[in-house]
Symmetry: C2
Subunit: 115 residues, 2 copies
């Protein structure tokens, strides 16, 4: 999870993923849009690969990359936990109540502290 979010925390790598959403790409194809050396782009690709976000198929001298959506799904699910904080008015009410609770607790004891 660390590796996934870290990989996503770079615009270049996010654009590479977006590119891969349109189909397989070789390393050079992925690198082409960027004003950096091939070696630098290759490092980005390796970062994505280490995070499990892409898989690589070596075909002769070219490396074909494809998206692996698994970790993206995990990250999406992780963020989904917080969905209740931004969605409905009903949740806004719940949040309000919960926060009043929390405020009451904060002035006395921490949540979960033994009495």
């Amino acid at each position: 999870m660390d590796a996934v979010f870290h990989a996503l925390g770079d615009a270049t790598r996010r654009r590479m993923l977006a590119d891969l959403a349109n189909g397989e790409r070789t390393v050079s194809q992925l690198a082409e849009p960027y004003a950096m050396s091939l070696a630098a782009a290759s490092k980005h690709i390796k970062t994505l690969e280490n995070a499990g976000l892409i898989r690589r198929e070596v075909r002769g001298r070219t490396h074909l990359c494809r998206l692996d959506p698994g970790p993206l799904a995990q990250a999406h699910q992780w963020l989904g936990f917080y969905e209740r904080f931004w969605t409905s008015r009903l949740d806004a009410l719940e949040r309000l109540l919960r926060e009043e609770d929390a405020a009451a607790n904060v002035t006395n004891t921490r949540d979960g502290d033994p009495r």
Copy 2:
């Protein structure tokens, strides 16, 4: 977006967010579970704040932190773009077709290259 994903790419900060999902917390309360100095935890909190993930209300000498779900929603939405890659069988079929397309294109011209 860079800042958001970067902030999420650290387990300590993710745990702090999870803590804040249960209600407001002061800086010391957020820092308490971790084996690091208060100053170090304070830096993490500032990182979260700079990413817009939390807001801070200074109340006397204590700083009360609350979750701001906005950026989380954005990140969730960004990931949602890739939902079709991991969800239904129907999408799996679409993906297959799209990838055959892509494969055909790759052997000839890049997507979007002028003819």
